[in-house]
Amino acid sequence: VEGVALLLTNVYTLTTMLNGASAIGERIKEWRTAKGWSQGQLAFFSGVRSSHLSLIERGMRNPKVETLVKIADAFKRSYVELVDGIEGYPSSEGVESSTREDGGEVGAGVGEDRSTALRDAQINLRRIGELNPEDFDVVVRVINAVMEKTERKYLEEHRAKRNRRKTSQQAPADNREVSPS
């Protein structure tokens, strides 16, 4: 009897989760289409992978709270609004929006790191984001690729410089060892 009760509880929990996942997926899709965004655009704005978004929208994944916060941020709305009335998601307690306090207007300052820069880029692109989805994706891909390339180049140069410095520091020491006293 205990086994059956446990099984029923698990089935109930699973059903609630899947219903919640489906409802949240529908809401995300509804918000996204209202904005006229493609899944790729939402992926860019939120930082959540496009393939993952697709599964979430179809109710095939139960997203984590952090993921939902990112998605809500992309819409400039709160997590609470996103999960409002949907079972199976925690309330707003302890969930903080990562949306910038200044509203992320263009020209909000050079970002602390690449993800911040990208976030600003997202915001900027969103403001001018009437590019068609294909063009939008191209620009986003180009920006990402260029940033990665520049960082890689910098790291290589940095390493080469460090190695040169090491070699030049070792050289006099070696000389001292071999030189006659």
């Binding site: 263009v106 020209g107 909000a108 300052g109 050079v110 970002g111 602390e112 790191d113 690449r114 911040t116 820069a117 990208l118 600003d120 880029a121 900027n124 692109l125 403001r127 001018i128 009437e130 590019l131 294909e134 063009d135 191209v138 620009v139 180009v142 920006i143 690729a145 260029v146 940033m147 390339k149 520049t150 960082e151 180049k153 910098y154 790291l155 940095h158």
Partner: protein
Amino acid sequence: VPQPVNLATVLDAISTEFQAMPDTVEAVLVRWKKYGKRFTQITFNDVLREPAYSARLRQAGAHEFGHVVCSHRGDLFVMWRAGTDIDRFARHLDECQERQCDYVAAYLLVPLQTLRDLKNMEASYIARQLDVPEHLVKLRFEIWKKHHR
């Protein structure tokens, strides 16, 4: 005829490259911070490699350089191709900053002395002489008329 400021050396100091981008996008300036370093990268539309578009390339470089020298706050600036239906985007852009950059480009690429020397000539002729877009020459004329400099 006094020639435009040669920005090649300046732009070499900033990381630049060419990438295939939509026709409507002329250039993109992106700035970010990583490993404790600030990066600035200008990416031009690949088509601007064509010798026929050298004037557009110079303008795009000078315009993006304008964002750097004016210390505009922001991480990403997109320069749209002039004369496209992108004008409808203008209301979304920070017009003041973009205007400033156009001014910088006009000051750098259209020497006042050239305008003085060729003031009776068509803007298109001056543009050809300087290898810059015609609308930049017109803008420089406007600035000269308005600010007397």
